[in-house]
């Protein structure tokens, strides 16, 4: 990573078409850590992520969104969504090298190949997305994200469409490869939050709460007792907001 990872903060309220989406709240995302933002659908988790990404044009946001180093976030953020967003007409290599081409620059193909190796797709670099499994496609999307080499990574339920085994593998891989970056993971899965969060926040209709994460560094073992207990607590909290 060529730039130091900043911490992020958002404080303010958001409205869509005049209707309040979430009230005044404050969210801090620690530098170089995974912050999991857990919540049910429709409470504005994704909006928060889109605000950090500079994408939420449809939202009236009053408040501040900032990085602790005072520099703008533009150009320091990479985004990975539930849909892999691979282009069907490009092979894996073309998709991974996409960012530079979209900026009108010459892509570093050797580096793109190294990223493809790192996500374990070296034998699939010349395949088009339709020839890949769901897990392989998300690996390609992860390689594309790594290729961007941004200090801030925004993950919008990137693993939620995968089967349980593939999801666990992708979680391990993402933690390993996104080490030391500032990661905000939006998820509706308490198990994922319990496995991956250095910090865990719950966003519900009543507001934003902080919950203490289980002990141990992410990715925590799937059968770790404390992690499973945390998962249970998170689900309980989701079902009956304080």
């Amino acid at each position: 990573m060529t730039q130091a990872a900043p911490s992020l903060s958002l404080s303010g309220a958001a409205r869509i078409d005049g209707a309040p989406l979430f009230g005044p709240l404050g969210l801090d995302v620690r530098a170089g850590r995974w912050t999991c933002l857990l919540g049910p659908s429709g409470v504005g988790k994704t909006t928060i992520l889109r605000l950090f990404a500079g994408l939420a044009e449809e939202v009236e946001f009053t408040g501040t969104i900032a990085a602790d180093d005072g520099l703008p976030l533009t150009g320091r953020v990479a985004l990975m969504a539930q849909s892999d967003l691979l282009f069907p007409w490009l092979d894996v290599l073309g998709n991974v090298a996409l960012g530079a081409r979209l900026r009108g620059e010459r892509p570093d193909l050797a580096r793109a190949r190294r990223m493809i190796d790192r996500v374990g797709l070296d034998r699939h670099a010349t395949k088009k997305p339709h020839a890949l499994s769901g897990g392989q496609r998300q690996r390609a999307a992860l390689a594309r994200t790594l290729m961007e080499d941004r200090p801030v990574i925004l993950l919008d339920e990137p693993f939620s469409a995968l089967d349980a085994r593939t999801r666990a593998e992708m979680q391990d891989l993402a933690v390993e490869l996104l080490d030391r970056r500032t990661v905000l993971l939006v998820t509706h899965d308490p198990a994922e939050a319990a496995r991956l969060g250095h910090d865990i926040r719950i966003l519900t209709e009543t507001g934003l709460d902080e919950l203490s994460p289980p002990a141990g560094a992410p990715p925590r073992p799937v059968d770790d007792r404390a992690t499973l207990e945390a998962q249970g607590r998170l689900l309980r909290r989701l079902r009956s907001p304080a």
Binding site: L55, L79, P88, D91, L102, R103
Partner: protein, 247 residues
């Protein structure tokens, strides 16, 4: 492939049988509706004349098709790229469609003369709108996720157009082109009817005027076969394009 050819042969045979059946059953005189055999004979007897005129019509259609497709695609890209041009140009496009292209044929003949020019202009005009409109719709329906990702990657608008929006809209362009393949011959023939000295449309009028109804039907059949082949060819090309596109 073989099955397709057999189906085609069966359809053609059925059509011919129906045609002959109507001729035999109604007893229509051959100067009203000649039978298939008589028309086939006319195609063979007048093969040089028909070929000479077919070359003219085919050139008009092909040139009009290529130019109309290029112009339509360019307009669509321009409209999609420029939010400024859109409110100005779209009403003009729609208005231009309110004028039946057929009504323009005499004007085009006046402006471009009796030669190829006015027929190419007709074919071009008649396909311009379907190509523009379907490609433009495709260009405006780029999945938002791709555009968001491009925005986060700080893509330039030009690169977004060439690397995302245009490739993503190719299926829409292909359906526009399929329509164009059917429309373009209509434009050329109308142009020839209004004023021409060569072409299949001209030959049909000429044959009709001289009561050579079998020749008129021969020209019509050749025109229909050409239009079918053109449609099949564009269909193949579009399918090939989409296969490459999907990988």
């Amino acid at each position: 492939m073989i099955r397709g050819a057999l189906t085609l042969a069966a359809v053609v045979l059925m059509g011919l049988a129906l045609w002959q059946g109507i001729v035999s059953a109604t007893g229509l005189p051959h100067f009203i509706l000649p039978g298939p055999a008589r028309v086939a004979e006319a195609v063979w007897t007048h093969r040089a004349l028909i070929a000479e005129n077919a070359v003219v019509t085919v050139s008009e259609v092909m040139i009009g098709l290529v130019l109309g497709a290029l112009l339509g695609a360019a307009t669509a890209i321009w409209l999609a790229a420029s939010p400024l041009a859109r409110p100005l140009l779209r009403p003009m496009l729609v208005f231009s469609q309110a004028i039946p292209v057929f009504a323009l044929a005499p004007v085009l003949t006046l402006w471009f003369g009796y030669g190829l020019g006015s027929k190419i202009a007709m074919a071009l005009l008649i396909i311009y709108f379907p190509v523009t409109s379907s490609f433009f719709d495709g260009l405006m329906r780029t999945p938002q996720g791709w555009l968001d990702m491009a925005h986060v990657m700080r893509a330039t608008p030009t690169q977004v157009m060439w690397r995302i929006r245009i490739p993503a809209a190719l299926p829409s362009l292909a359906s526009g082109l399929r329509l164009a393949a059917v429309y373009a011959p209509i434009g050329a023939i109308i142009g020839e009817w209004v004023g021409a000295s060569r072409g299949l449309g001209y030959l049909m009028l000429l044959a009709n005027g001289r009561a050579k109804i079998d020749l008129m039907f021969a020209a019509l059949i050749v025109l229909a076969v050409f239009t079918l082949l053109l449609h099949a060819g564009v269909d193949r090309a579009a399918a090939w394009l989409l296969r490459r596109h999907r990988g």
